[in-house]
């Protein structure tokens, strides 16, 4: 694929400053609700504050790509004397766990940097966190051109992976007939 210049949106996470309040989760879930803020439920958030209080572990993780299968191994890291399971650090919406899935449908969630029309000056999680754990940074980078995948497509792909494409198409066809 061709190389293109692209504004890469990124969030710098200063986990040392995180106090574990989860205001980022609450705001994220609300922003992505339809209509906006009509429900409040951090389980729908695309950011998750991993918390092991007495181990002094508090840090936010953003929802990344959906993966159809869990990892074979379960590794762990020791950093500054604290042990982290790599599942805790992982951004994937994965069949082995509930994290980053819609709690009712189980469909995967992914951080979209709050892209919206009109655009927000910065993602909701960044603006709600007044303790500066999250900093929004835009960088211009040369990247491989890639296909833009919509939320719906991610969801459908997950269903196709779980049930098979044929079954999915069959079901959609049946739904159209019923309507």
């Amino acid at each position: 694929m061709a190389k293109i210049k692209k504004i890469v949106k990124s969030i710098k996470i200063d986990a040392d400053k995180c106090n574990g309040c989860r205001a980022c989760e609450v705001a994220c879930a609300g922003f992505h609700a339809t209509p906006k803020y009509s429900i409040c439920n951090p389980a729908r958030a695309r950011i998750k504050v991993v918390t092991y209080r007495r181990k002094d572990i508090w840090f936010p993780v953003f929802a990344g790509e959906y993966t159809p299968a869990g990892c074979v191994g379960r590794d762990s890291y020791i950093i500054d004397g604290k042990e982290y399971a790599d599942c805790d650090l992982c951004r994937a919406s994965c069949p082995t766990r509930d994290r980053f899935k819609e709690p009712d449908s189980g469909l995967p969630l992914r951080c979209d940097m709050c892209e919206s029309d009109p655009p927000l000056p910065e993602p909701m999680c960044v603006s709600i966190c007044i303790n500066n754990v999250l900093t929004y940074v835009e960088k211009e980078e040369e990247v491989e051109e890639e296909e833009n995948v919509s939320d719906m497509e991610i969801g459908l792909r997950a269903l196709a992976n779980t049930h098979g494409m044929d079954k999915l198409l069959e079901t959609v066809a049946r739904m159209i007939e019923k309507d």
Binding site: Y37, I39, C40, R53, D56, I130
Partner: protein, 661 residues
């Protein structure tokens, strides 16, 4: 559709194991909001005055507030409401943390426990799935460690757990309920939980809370956010204590300077002030100890302020703490070692005891020993140094071992069981409950009323937006008044401007009894709103100049719930709950005779003025001479059924159901 609240309570009969999800009456939100308001209503309807704390019929209600789990910051309070074993009145200790929000996301506003489990159990609530599980393997485990043990056992790192320690299992009247960085400490709810054989309640919820107008609610939150950021960058100046200069709980973990508390408060069993205690050497030593122990600042659910800390001190297992417990064991033991604080607080939180009452109880035991009422035999094995004694006595109390069996009942009941003149040493309780360890000179009429009359029975949770002391100069007064947007009415600024530390316009005759009644009524009102919506008092009622106040509460409530409240109608709702609360306690025998601050609280007392204060306040509240809501007041608040009940039970003396009697 129900907004802000889930509309369901979880009813658990511990004796039979019956668990029911019960829909609540939607009208209750309009009449009592939620939280404390609906708790009071529930207790009025279901717990008759004959029921004692340890009767199976006593309820233990874990309640969220009306705005809990919504976008409104800091509305994370869990109330643990029950009949107190210590006072025999309604107790509703509260904690911050994460539990109540998780409960609402699981689909419930309250968990209502009744009867007793046949053996130690814990309850696991995971959305619609609710289990009562064996907890015998957790017997004797610490209240903090139990939370992690249950999360591990369930393989649910995101579950929030409220738990008791050994003191609760042993039905101590000072037992707390612990959860994350918070404790519901006062008046013995942990003892009732232990009596019901419930070690813990774990909850995980992933459901939605409906918000009536979320966009509007976020607009209000944005305003609040701006205010909080502004205050964080511009702390208040011209106040007594730096810990009260921001918003959030008093920032005792941020600041080492404790000159104000340590020189102003009474040490030992609330006996003597040490006016020359604070000096540079102490400051340096405490700073070193403090910053070696504070590992990280932490928050409660959906609140940006960082009032708690993770404590990691030398070889002591880690725990979390906040606020005034930093000093309470030092006051009690007369130790000046902050290292001692970090060590004994670990035990205190794991045993699950109220770190406000307990140090006074231990100091009371030391006094009894020094007076010869407790003997060498009673103290056999006890170290002779102050700190060693406190560790030993705390162990005894939590185990109810030896004299610890008395101490676990708190000062009032311990003194009466011990006898031999021990009653004389019970000098700092109101309604049988240990009070703030403060002994001062001149009667303060505002504090007189707050100490005497509030249903919380705990002064620290009654004070509020009104400054604790008068400002000495006109300049300081104007400085204070210029951005005092939180006052409900400009007349309060006039009262404040006329208030001086000494001379004309000073305590005890100023503020006048009428002004005092109005100010105290304001303090109560904001506390009652916070306790109904589940807001941390540090962001509202307890704070000098908070972000939440009488003028913006209705906006937040309306946007979240769809109600159409203004300041007056909101005031009426909390006034209704407050009068129902008072009637509930009146029905259990509480009246004017019980409403007296400790005799030695102030050196200079004014019996006639104090009578006038109480009478004026009662009249202002629409209560009889005995402090019971009148027929008229109850009627105004749509509480005629309460009046009928009080009459039927003979709570009014003959004909005294009006305020002029």
């Amino acid at each position: 559709m129900r907004y802000a609240e889930t509309g369901y309570n979880l009813e658990i009969d511990l004796a039979t194991g019956n668990i029911e999800r019960v829909e609540t009456d939607p009208k209750l939100m309009e009449t009592h909001l939620g939280g404390l308001g609906t708790d009071v209503k529930l207790f009025w309807d279901r717990v008759p005055p004959e029921t004692k704390a340890f009767d199976p019929e006593n309820l233990l209600v874990f309640s969220s507030g009306l705005l809990g789990a919504t976008y409104a910051w800091s509305t994370n309070r869990t109330l643990c409401t029950t009949i107190s074993p210590q006072t025999d009145l309604l107790a509703y200790p509260m904690m911050g943390g994460f539990w109540a929000s998780e409960l609402k996301y699981a689909g419930y506003d309250k968990v209502i426990l009744r009867n007793k489990a046949p053996h130690l159990v814990y309850i696991w609530i995971h959305n619609d799935k609710v289990e009562i599980r064996d907890a015998r393997h957790l017997k004797g485990k610490g209240a903090v460690e139990t939370q992690d043990l249950i999360r591990e056992e369930l393989n649910q790192p995101d579950a929030q757990v409220s738990a008791i320690g050994l003191a609760g299992e042993n039905r101590a009247f000072v037992a707390s309920i612990e959860q994350s960085r918070s404790s519901a400490s006062r008046l013995g709810s942990g003892g009732v939980m232990g009596d019901k054989n419930v070690k813990a309640i774990a909850v995980r919820g992933t459901k939605d809370i409906n918000i009536y107008d979320g966009v509007k609610l976020m607009e209000h939150l944005e305003e609040l956010k701006k205010f909080v950021v502004h205050r964080n960058e511009n702390p208040l100046t011209g106040i007594e204590m730096v810990i009260h200069s921001g918003v959030g709980s008093p920032q005792a973990m941020r600041h080492v300077d404790e000159q104000w508390h340590t020189t102003g408060f009474a040490w030992g069993n609330a006996r003597t002030r040490r006016k020359d205690f604070w000096n540079q050497e102490i400051f340096e030593r405490w700073s070193k100890s403090h910053w070696s122990a504070v590992k990280r600042f932490i928050s409660c659910f959906n609140c940006p302020q960082q009032c708690g800390t993770l404590i990691s001190f030398q070889d002591v297992p880690r725990y979390m703490m906040k606020c005034f417990s930093k000093l309470s064991y030092l006051f009690g033991s007369k130790s000046d070692s902050m290292d001692f604080t970090w060590r004994i607080l670990h035990k205190s939180f794991e045993y699950g005891v109220d770190s406000f009452s307990t140090p006074q109880i231990l100091a009371f035991a030391v006094e009894l020993y020094e007076a010869g009422i407790f003997t060498d035999a009673d103290f056999k094995g006890c170290p002779t140094d102050n700190e060693g004694r406190f560790f030993w006595l705390l162990d005894k109390l939590a185990h109810r071992d030896g004299i610890g069996d008395y101490l676990a009942d708190g000062v009032y009941w311990a003194a009466r069981r011990i006898g031999k003149g021990a009653e004389e040493f019970d000098h700092n309780t109101i309604k049988k409950h240990e009070q703030m360890n403060v002994k001062l000179g001149m009667l303060d009429p505002l504090y007189f009323l707050m100490f005497a009359t509030n249903e919380k029975i705990s002064i620290t949770q009654i004070e509020g937006n009104w400054p604790q002391t008068a400002k000495p100069t006109q300049e300081l007064k104007e400085h204070w008044a210029k951005d005092w947007i939180q006052v409900p009415d400009p007349k309060f600024i006039d009262y404040f401007m006329g208030w001086n530390p000494r001379g004309e316009g000073s305590n005890p005759y100023y503020p006048t009894p009428q002004m005092c009644s109005e100010i105290v009524d304001w303090m109560e009102q904001i506390h009652n709103i916070d306790d109904a919506i589940g807001l941390c008092a540090g962001m509202g009622s307890f704070c000098y100049k908070p972000g939440y106040h009488v003028h913006n509460y209705p906006k937040f409530i309306n946007a979240a719930t769809g109600m159409d409240l203004d300041e007056e109608s909101l005031k009426k709702i909390v006034n209704r709950s407050r009068n129902l609360h008072r009637a509930f306690n009146n029905r259990r025998g509480m009246s004017r005779k019980d409403e007296a601050p400790p005799k030695d609280h102030w050196k200079h007392r004014f019996p006639e003025l104090e009578e006038e204060l109480l009478t004026t306040y009662y009249k202002f509240k629409g209560w009889t001479y005995d402090g019971i809501p009148t027929k008229e007041r109850l009627h105004e608040l749509d509480l005629d059924y309460v009046y009928d009940d009080l009459v039927k039970r003979g709570i009014y003396k003959d004909g005294q159901d009006k305020e002029d009697c």
